[in-house]
Structure formats: structure tokens, C-alpha cells
Amino acid sequence: MNDAHHGLRMRRHLLRGGAATLTVAGITALLGSRGAALAQKRNANAAQDVGLLNAAIALEHEGIAAYTIAAGSGLLQPAVVKIGVTFRGHHQRHRDELVRAVTALGGRPAAARSDAEYATALNAGALKNQTDVLRLALRLERGAANAYLGLIPSLSTAEQHQLAARMAGDEAFHAAILGNAVGDPIPADGLMFGA
């Protein structure tokens, strides 16, 4: 083997070694940047979910306040108050589950406003009798069922999809009871929520 041939082999060896080194470094860099991108996406999804779930907490705060205001209004029969207090308990459970979800994502749960602020926002002063109160509750519960169903595609995990769906089920249950109480007819068609 002459010097020229040996030199050529050495250069090839170095180039191959260099290429191998670059490839490993490249893969490491690629994996690193991909991992960083995935972590960034996870964080962005978590931050997005915190915002969305906090809006749901605000919705539940308002629902809890609405039933509290209704129970103290003097407009409801005792049996109706009892049902309303039970429904309020369901909303408190929703709030607690949502608070748990937001906290688990590293967020700070939305705080409730005062009952007086909710009464103003809901125009509770305009309620004159039990039917008015039930109609307001029905509107809020029907809206809440639709809100949770409409929220599902915007949430990022299956766990949160299921949580929102379970809440929607409860709200639909409330709406059905309230609709019956005010004498609304049973809807003729199926798929009555969330479309």
C-alpha cells in the first residue's frame, strides 16, 4: 500500500467517522428539539385547558348562586326549594371536580363573585313568582348542557372530555325536571342538546 492510497483510506475513515458522529449528534439534537416542542405543546394545551375549565368553574359559581338566591327568594314552595337545594349540591360537586382539574394542571381556580353581583347579572329582581324562577333555572340548565357539549372539542384530553360530558348529563337531567315542572312538552326529536 503506497502513501497516497493510505492517505485516501484515512480520509474516507475520518469522513465516515465524522458522518457517524454528525448523525448521532443530529439525531440527539432532533430528538431534543422534538421533545422540547412536545413539552411546549403540552404546556400550551394545559394553559388553554386551565382557561376553559375556569370558565366552566365561573359557570358553576353562577349556578350555585342562582339556586341560593332562588331558595331565599320566598317565591318557591317548600318542595321546590328542596329540589333546588339538591340541584345546587350537584353544581357544587361540579365546581369541586373542576377546581381539582384546574389545580392538577397547575392553574388557579376562578373565584366566585358575591351573590348580590350574581343577582344583578341574572336580573333576579324581575322574578315575580315560582314559574319565573323555574323558567330562569330551565334556561340556565339547558344552556349549561349545551355549553359543556360545545366545550368538549376544545378540551385536550380524554379525561376532560369525559368530565365535561358527565357535567352535560347532569345539566340535561336538571333541564328535563325543570321543563316538566313548567309544563314544557317533551321534544319530538332526539339529539336535543349540543348540535
Binding site: G51, A55, N146, A195
Partner: protein
Amino acid sequence: MHLLAYGTAAVGLAAAVLASSAGAQSPVVGDARRGEQLYQSRCGACHSLDANRVGPRHRGVVGRRVASVSGYRYSAALQARAFVWDEPRLDQWLENPTALVPGTAMGMRVPKAQDRADIIAYLRDQRLASP
């Protein structure tokens, strides 16, 4: 001359095809009466026309600058924007709010174009009282 005539015809045909395909995607016409019912059932859990609740009040929203209702605390994501709520923007928003403004607290989607058009038609009619 013949070539020019063929060329002109081809351009005209292409324009007609484009116009036709654009027509297929023309905006859906909204029904404000149906929109009122949809507004109550879809938006009413969080919004009212005249009170800030979970979401901001809606009267006068069409044509309003984003994140500009007094007394309502918007997300940082919406505060950072500078657009006006015109009808195409509201349509995008209702279709997928987190796609239009990532980081918003509004997640409720209205998937059907006709429903969105009806809700927007209703909101367009809910103007602020003249001072």
C-alpha cells in the same frame, strides 16, 4: 386573432368556474328569529345581552372592538388582539374560538354554519341604544 379569441374565451371560462366555486362558498344567510332561540340555548348559559356574566355582554357586539366591554375581565389572549368583531370574524370565533385566539377562555363551539349565521344575524340586530 383566432388565438386571442381562444385565449379570451379560456380566461372567461376560468373566471366563470372560479365565480361558480366562490358562489358555492358564499356566506350562509342568517335568520335572526331562529338565532334568538339559538342564542338562548347555546350562548345563554354564559352570556346575556346587557350584563357581564361568565362572558361579556353582547348587545352591540357586531362592529365592536375586541376585548372592549367595560367592567369585564378578558383573558390576556383576547386583550392582546386588536381586531373588530365583524361578521366573518364572529363566524370564525363561533366555529372554533381557540383556533382564532389561542389562550381564550371561550371554548364553546357552534359547528353548523347555518346556526352560526342565525346567531350572528340575531346579534347584528341587538344594537346599542343611541345616546
